[in-house]
């Protein structure tokens, strides 16, 4: 029964892998501003990777942060759904080919949903979260 109830409310966790902060601001906007309010969908941000169900990754994955990001990502319990927010984690974006860029993120982590944009607007992020929730439910088997 707990599983049935919990399935409605995936918790979100943000990982910034060297983002310019644009996408992080949009993620913040999506949750904290009543106009967009992702918490209507039962989602909320959590502070610990161990509580998370959906991971939102921003940034092009810099060389310095690569190992730390992988370590944090490993700590998130299965089943988890990984969402790449912005063009940087998806393809490297405008930073692609830079000396300090190890990404794109899908070289190291299995990404499930991509939300490109520079940054994507809050509604696009909500759309991505909904797709991620569907993928997460499918992975939970219900």
């Amino acid at each position: 029964m707990l599983r049935k109830l919990a399935a409605r409310s995936p918790w979100l966790y943000r990982i910034n892998t060297g983002s310019c902060n644009g996408c992080d601001v949009e993620l913040l906007t999506t949750a904290c501003i009543p106009r967009y309010d992702v918490e209507r969908l039962g989602c909320r941000y959590c502070g610990s990777p161990r509580h998370a169900d959906i991971v939102l990754i921003t940034g092009p994955l810099t060389v310095r942060l690569k190992d730390k990001v992988l370590r944090v990502w490993e700590e998130i319990p299965e089943p988890k759904v990984t969402v790449a927010v912005g063009i940087c984690p998806v393809s490297g974006g405008v930073f692609r080919g830079g000396y300090s860029i190890a990404g794109p993120v899908d070289k190291y982590l299995p990404i499930d949903i991509n939300v490109p944009g520079c940054p994507p607007r809050p509604q696009a992020i909500i759309e991505g979260v909904i797709k991620a929730r569907d993928a997460w439910l499918a992975r939970m088997g219900g």
Binding site: P34, V94, R96, I113, P116, E127
Partner: protein
């Protein structure tokens, strides 16, 4: 001092300011820059869009058989800056209001705009020739009384010959007239 009471009373009747999306349609501002679209009928393949593209999203490659060129724009690295739209001389590129960009990883490399723009063949010698849209042709030959539509179907070499022939005929006519 008691202004806040007015605001309070107003807020009681105003209802929530939350945007209804995903349960209703979201409002998109008129000049919102969403996914970029190419109109292949207007593209001349000048590659200025590839040159100014911040994210390196545009790839233009001529086919080895000379039949035309392939135009690929990958939305997954497009920064939506609108520079391509600004610099496109023919207005072939435009940003749409479409921001529905979330897609599963399996579609990552299909998430692009693909077009094939065929070359014309020269009316004189049959050499492949980039098509030029009438709007641009009109601008180039704005002050000349020539048959621009005919000239634009000729390769530069045949165009030179055609123009020289016209000039010679005109000079002959002028001589015989005087």
């Amino acid at each position: 001092m008691l202004d806040f009471l007015k605001i309070l009373a107003g807020n009681v009747f105003k209802g929530p300011s939350t945007d209804g999306f995903p349960f209703t349609q979201a409002h998109t501002p008129r000049r919102f820059r969403g996914k970029v679209h190419l109109n292949p009928a207007l593209c001349v393949g000048c590659t200025i869009c590839r040159h100014v593209c911040a994210g390196g999203a545009i790839h233009i490659a001529e086919r080895p058989d000379g039949s035309g060129y392939d135009y690929t724009l990958w939305h997954n690295t497009c920064a939506l800056c609108g520079l391509c739209q600004h610099y496109c001389p023919t207005g072939a590129l435009s940003t749409s209001g479409d921001w529905h960009n979330a897609h599963p990883q399996s579609e990552k490399y299909q998430w692009c705009e693909r077009h094939f723009v065929p070359f014309l063949s020269c009316d004189g010698c049959g050499a492949p020739l980039r098509p030029l849209p009438p709007a641009l042709t009109g601008r180039i030959y704005a002050d000349n009384h020539v048959d621009a539509a005919r000239l634009m179907r000729l390769c530069p070499r045949c165009r030179q010959i055609e123009t020289a022939m016209h000039a010679r005929e005109a000079s002959h006519e002028a001589q015989s007239g005087s």
